[in-house]
Symmetry: C2
Subunit: 555 residues, 2 copies
């Protein structure tokens, strides 16, 4: 049955396999919430499905139930009041281990078929998922739809494609025939079985509960492992909907649904016991350095794939498209109030200013013009509210207030609070821009998650490139950018990013932004600097999640 699912979704798999090899544009799931794709009633059905969760217990029928827990606070200020099952983590682990045998026997094709079916079903729930992402994270609607549903599904499919590619390369069996000169050859039959390493735990984050969860979830699942999803305490619903759908599809296909469970932990201690359990062999984590480093230090029994903090940065040397550059940057700094792991935090500008097609611009000009570009871009409330979304956490609000106070640098553009008439209790803030000197490393050289960016005055372009390299090598970054009209500057920045191992966006002035990472084409993280020890997705992201157990005998 599961192999029939592979045939059903063969075109999708082939498309993904081709896309990860060519890395051109491709997508399996329409990023536009179009009725033509999703159905005439999809928008309304999805909203109703979301509303139906509110104020209710979210049943999952998992083992080890000990109680119910909720407490998600919507950044939009609406009441969620969903209660999730709290299950004994030992029971979840034991059930996951037990389910792994049947999952292993499904084989790589069977597992891949089921993963493809799951993704297809999640895609059909895109509106429901989008509302759940929007209301738990504070993302604007369009972003919640795109990043929360089709883009996340694409990242999941990408991981499945990599897993399939690696698994398919291992033959199920072979005949080994070694010549022995004039004597008969030695002949052995050998079988090669793909076996998942064990239970995988995927620790979700509060801002991208699906996009950052699906790669690890599907990589671990496709390669034969049980998966326990441990969502962020404020973004449980998107994970719960995902887990329920997965469990449904597993059960439909004769696989023990306890292969994939949701772990809502009422105590930090429970999470720590879960991730350090000897049966847990992989952990996928997106989040801050404190818990991330704790995981790396303490979960020695597992392979930890961690996306941590970083200091994304951009060097501005010169441009022949000054206004488009400013518009592009304004969008990047504003999108989801800068609450993306890819948002630029430090923008390096030479003290002597930059050359543009509009003439020379001093450092102060650039500061003022970028501030104007941001406030101009956000001047229409409907644009501002759609782009900014709401601020996800109280910590981010605190950081905005601290930046606004001038404690971190000269305030070029203060953050303002906007009212969202649809969600009167939502916390909406515009970005704060600060000016500081390269010497003020304490200010800009640690991640200040949220809409807080620094325009850093640097001696010259060469110093800016060197500073960028040093920051990335020591503090990490997922994204770097450069604006320059000079080939030698671009070459120097390119060489610097080879050493510091970060993805570089060059002269972005149009409809692509440094903080955007497209599935199948852009590697999200390189795995080579402190911001992440893995990349979405590549062979390294999947190859170490399973092993090959062989047996051999004479024929």
């Amino acid at each position: 049955m599961s192999v029939q699912l592979l045939e059903k979704h063969r075109a999708t798999l082939d498309g993904a396999l081709n896309a990860i090899h060519t890395r051109g544009y491709w997508s399996a799931y329409n990023e536009m919430p179009s009725p033509k794709t999703y159905g005439e009633t999809a928008a309304e059905d999805g909203k109703q499905a979301f509303d139906a969760h509110l104020g209710r217990q979210f049943a999952l029928n998992q083992p080890g139930l000990t109680g119910w827990l909720g407490g998600e606070q919507s950044p939009y200020g609406i009441e969620l009041n969903v209660q999730y099952p709290v299950c004994d983590h030992e029971a979840l682990i034991a059930a996951g281990q037990q389910a792994m045998t049947g999952w292993q026997k499904a084989g790589s094709e069977g597992r891949t078929g089921i993963c493809l079916e799951i993704l297809d079903r999640l895609n059909k729930q895109s509106f429901e998922l989008a509302h759940s992402v929007m209301m738990t994270t504070g993302q604007g609607w369009m972003m919640a739809f795109q990043a929360g549903a089709p883009h996340a599904q694409d990242r999941g499919l990408e991981a499945v494609a990599y897993a399939y590619r690696e698994m398919k390369f291992v033959p199920g069996e072979t005949t080994w025939e070694k010549p022995q000169g004039k004597n008969p050859p030695l002949v052995m039959k050998k079988h090669f079985e793909l076996v998942g390493h064990g239970v995988g735990v995927v620790v979700g984050c509060g801002t991208f509960p699906t996009w950052n969860t699906y790669p690890g979830l599907f990589a671990a699942l496709a390669t034969g492992n049980a998966v326990i999803v441990k969502p962020h305490s404020n973004a449980i619903l998107p994970a719960a909907i995902t887990v329920r759908t997965i469990r449904t599809v597993l059960a439909e296909n004769g696989i023990d649904p306890n292969l994939v469970t949701l772990c809502v932990a009422d105590k930090r201690e429970t999470t720590q016991k879960l991730v350090t359990h000897p049966a847990v062999k992989s952990i996928d984590f997106t989040g801050g350095n404190v818990f991330g480093q704790w995981l790396i230090d303490n979960c020695r029994q597992a392979r930890v794939y961690a996306e941590l903090a970083g200091v994304n940065n951009i060097v501005i040397d010169s441009t022949d498209a000054y206004k488009p550059m400013l518009r592009n940057l304004a969008f990047t700094l504003s999108l989801y109030s800068g609450q993306m792991c890819t948002t630029s935090q430090a923008i390096f500008v030479p003290a002597g200013g930059i050359e543009t097609e509009d003439g020379h611009k001093s450092y102060d000009d650039v500061c003022a013009d970028l501030a104007r570009a941001v406030s101009g871009f956000l001047s229409k409330p409907e644009v501002a509210l759609a782009v900014l979304g709401a601020v996800q956490s109280a910590d981010t609000l605190k950081r905005i207030n601290e930046a606004d106070s001038g404690a971190l640098g000269k305030v070029i553009l203060a953050s303002t609070k906007l009212d969202n008439p649809d969600f009167p209790k939502s916390e909406v803030r515009t970005p704060v821009l600060l000016a500081c000197d390269a010497a003020d490393e304490k200010a800009y050289m640690e991640e200040r998650f949220g809409p807080i960016s620094f325009i850093v005055k640097v001696a010259d372009t060469a110093a800016a490139i060197a500073l960028s390299e040093r920051i990335i090598a020591t503090h990490g970054a997922l994204t770097a950018g450069i604006y320059s009209t000079k080939a030698d500057v671009l070459d120097a920045m390119t060489a610097a990013t080879m050493r510091s191992k970060v993805a570089l966006s060059i002269n972005l002035t149009g409809g692509v932004f440094v903080n955007q990472s497209a599935a199948y084409s852009d590697y999200h993280g390189t795995g080579g600097n402190p911001a992440a020890n893995a990349s979405y997705a590549d062979a390294a992201f999947v190859a170490n999640r399973f092993c090959v157990v062989q047996r051999r005998y004479h024929v």
Copy 2:
């Protein structure tokens, strides 16, 4: 030029790529020391080349030279007196880092071509390498030739093939074109550069200084990293010859030879400083648990690929080829005096004995018959000396003496010292066989490296399979074996090895032995039990040694 090397060796590469995919028998390098393959004068030339090293300084022209060090003690008792350059580890690391840029620019095809040329040149030195392996490790001549030269080269080539496969999958560039409805598409050019993570250190072992070193060495090298080879203090010469040849080929092809260096450390502290250096990003290690675990605990900046101790074991349930089984086991226990990481240490036999085509054999019968099979196999001195080789270390001699004393179990077959007329000072020992009860876990449940094996009395076959699984899951194993005529027993053992993640050999009675692992076909280690966290070779062994650094810009 390096791409021309790829063309020169294209057939070899294609053969290896096909072999790792089909995992049938294949070899690039003749395992027989045949004059037809290696040349009429190869044997004599190789011996002379080896002799020429003795009593001399082994020049490598590396940076940071601070002195010379030797001290290898041949298990055959001959005088070696080779002196090796001691170089400041900081100088080696800095030089390696500097050389990486040119190596990166050679690209995957260039690097692969040069690696293939290196392997070809090493193959032409097979006799010289074989003598150096034999005289430093105590291996018998034929084993030293096969495992030390062609088989090691095959394992190196296997790693290169995996690296090539993963690197080639990543396109150098792409055009990303995203439709925008009625508007013109977004078009970006993207470049993807493969960048090695950093300096790799390969820590060699005293028994297989090439076979266990080449996989990590070539995996790290092919994927764009500098490599520092840190040989075992008693098996430096094979590594030094290897490094010199690599440096020669690199220089011939315009690559800075300091990309690959030999680190002979006069102090343990130097080795510790080397492996914990922030620039060191991968460590390949074969050896004991103490230093292996130290590496894993302390080298947090690097990815550690470790092959550690284990307790390899065999379950005997029944057989229809009793004598062939005993002969097969006798060879395994005798080969290189059991000084292989794949030698069986524990043989589980039901207390009630086993059924054979020769009738029932009691536990005591099996003990006595296996003892007779070993002593019979080794009764001809020329066979015994060729198979046993010499004992590599004083620690192993101590362990043999301890076992012989009866302290670990009832001695079924005592070890004897044999005289080797060609090498009067060599330490040759026959295997010691002990009988003990399953309850005597302290005796048999830790690795006792060397020709020391236990015939463990277990309640029944089911208990033996359960014990095997528990040992492998908790103490690790590279090999497991089963003898049974019953399908249900084979199925139960197969299922147990899926859970404990170990390679299983079934009913070996002919010319293949449980301790043998054939390149391209047998995975050496699974990476899934405590004996090794990686496998030679698979995608996981190479995929995390490089990252992809991309850049993108509007077209």
